[in-house]
């Protein structure tokens, strides 16, 4: 039960972009479409889970004073593996995400989980924590990307949802950077309203 909690807390309680408001740079930059959000999210799940596992397994070996450097090396390794893998097998995704794949290295969600959780907990719990937080991150990205794509381009996962008339006069503003901020703000507001109705 308690192990299960390590997974589910990432889905709501500690949902990275909305609850912790961490790792916003890729959240805002790559969510022009639901597909991009999903690709980025899957990359983050992979890196987060494996870096959590390794950091947790090595937590008694790594001296405290060089722990951050060690974490960064481990995270960077997995990020480069993801980068090469997407380039070799999912080239269109690689082109769409571009510089934001290498930038996963400095995503504070990942370093944050290594420091706050994996360095203090067992391997299995850390793996679940990584999977959970990563899944929460992915869902957030897909929701944000889907919303922006739907309003901004009238499509969802590149499937045409809105009528042709809408698509030719869509709010392409939502695909630009300010649209990302507005969407994020609205989603944050909704989440706050849902989770804490009494405090307001």
């Amino acid at each position: 039960m308690s192990v299960f909690k390590e997974f589910t807390k990432g889905l709501w309680q500690e949902l990275p972009p909305f609850r912790l408001v961490l790792g916003l740079c890729p959240v805002l930059a790559v969510t022009k479409s639901a597909t991009n959000g999903l690709g980025m999210g899957l990359a983050v799940i992979f890196v987060l889970t494996w870096s959590n596992i390794l950091v947790s397994a090595l937590r008694k070996v790594i001296p405290r004073k060089v722990r951050i450097a060690s974490y960064i090396v481990i995270i960077a390794t997995f990020v480069v593996i993801v980068e090469m893998a997407t380039q070799a097998f999912f080239y269109p995704v690689y082109e769409a995400l571009g510089i934001f794949i290498p930038l996963i290295v400095v995503n504070c969600v990942i370093l944050g989980r290594a420091e706050a959780f994996a360095s203090k907990n067992g391997v299995f719990a850390s793996a679940l924590d990584g999977l959970g937080i990563g899944t929460g991150f992915t869902i957030s990205l897909v929701v944000l990307g889907g919303l922006r794509e739907l309003v901004g381009a009238g499509t969802l996962f590149d499937v045409e949802i809105m009528s042709a008339v809408y698509r030719s006069h869509s709010f392409s503003f939502m695909l630009e950077a300010p649209g990302a901020f507005i969407c994020l703000g609205v989603l944050l507001a909704i989440m706050n309203a849902v989770s804490a109705p009494s405090s307001s």
């Binding site: 004073k65 593996i81 097998f89």
Partner: protein, 190 residues
């Protein structure tokens, strides 16, 4: 002292293992990545530049050396005879390097066309260089054409608002035309 040594050893070991893992993975994927870049980045452009070729241009490529620099040469064939060649060159634009694929008809030394492979020009302004409106102009021009923009005394129409971008493309084409005789000679010698 003991602690310092431990820190150094642990961090070095972690880095070493990671480096080993990465070089292994790199070796395993390098060939596929190169192939993907050819298929997705250069491939479609080469096919547009040498649109009359009947062979599989991407497979008929070779690397030659011109003035000590490697040039990746794509060869277009009609029937079994080499008819045209294409290779990439670079010019300096407004926002960074502009990479241009230039195709040549080796029979009469004219351009079969150009395509912009990558650029960092301003979206909506300088990015017009990548549109057909601009690139189609070069189709069929002789290699002896003065590839500079009209305001600079050449023959190429500049794009209003995108002076530097158009100049960058011209520079890339001039760089390409400059080595063309040597490339052609080497190709025919083989």
């Amino acid at each position: 002292m003991k602690e310092i040594i431990r820190m150094i050893v642990v961090l070095s070991l972690i880095s070493g293992v990671c480096a080993l893992a990465l070089s292994g993975f790199r070796a395993a994927t390098a060939e596929r990545i190169e192939d993907q870049i050819l298929q997705n980045v250069q491939g479609p452009k080469v096919k547009l530049v040498l649109d009359k070729a009947e062979n599989d241009i991407i497979n008929d490529r070779k690397t030659i050396s011109v003035n000590g620099e490697d040039v990746l040469l794509f060869i277009g064939k009609k029937g079994n005879e080499p008819w045209a060649i294409a290779y990439e060159s670079t010019g300096g634009g407004f926002g960074g390097d502009i990479k241009v694929m230039v195709g040549y008809d080796i029979g009469n030394d004219t351009l079969t066309g150009i395509q912009i492979i990558s650029h960092k020009e301003t979206p909506g302004i300088g990015s017009k260089i990548a549109e057909d409106q601009f690139t189609k102009y070069f189709k069929g021009l002789a290699t002896s054409t003065n590839f500079t923009t009209k305001p600079q005394g050449g023959e190429v129409d500049a794009i209003s608002g995108a002076t530097y971008s158009a100049r960058g493309v011209c520079e890339a084409i001039r760089n390409s035309v400059e080595i063309y005789p040597q490339v052609k000679k080497q190709m025919q010698a083989q």
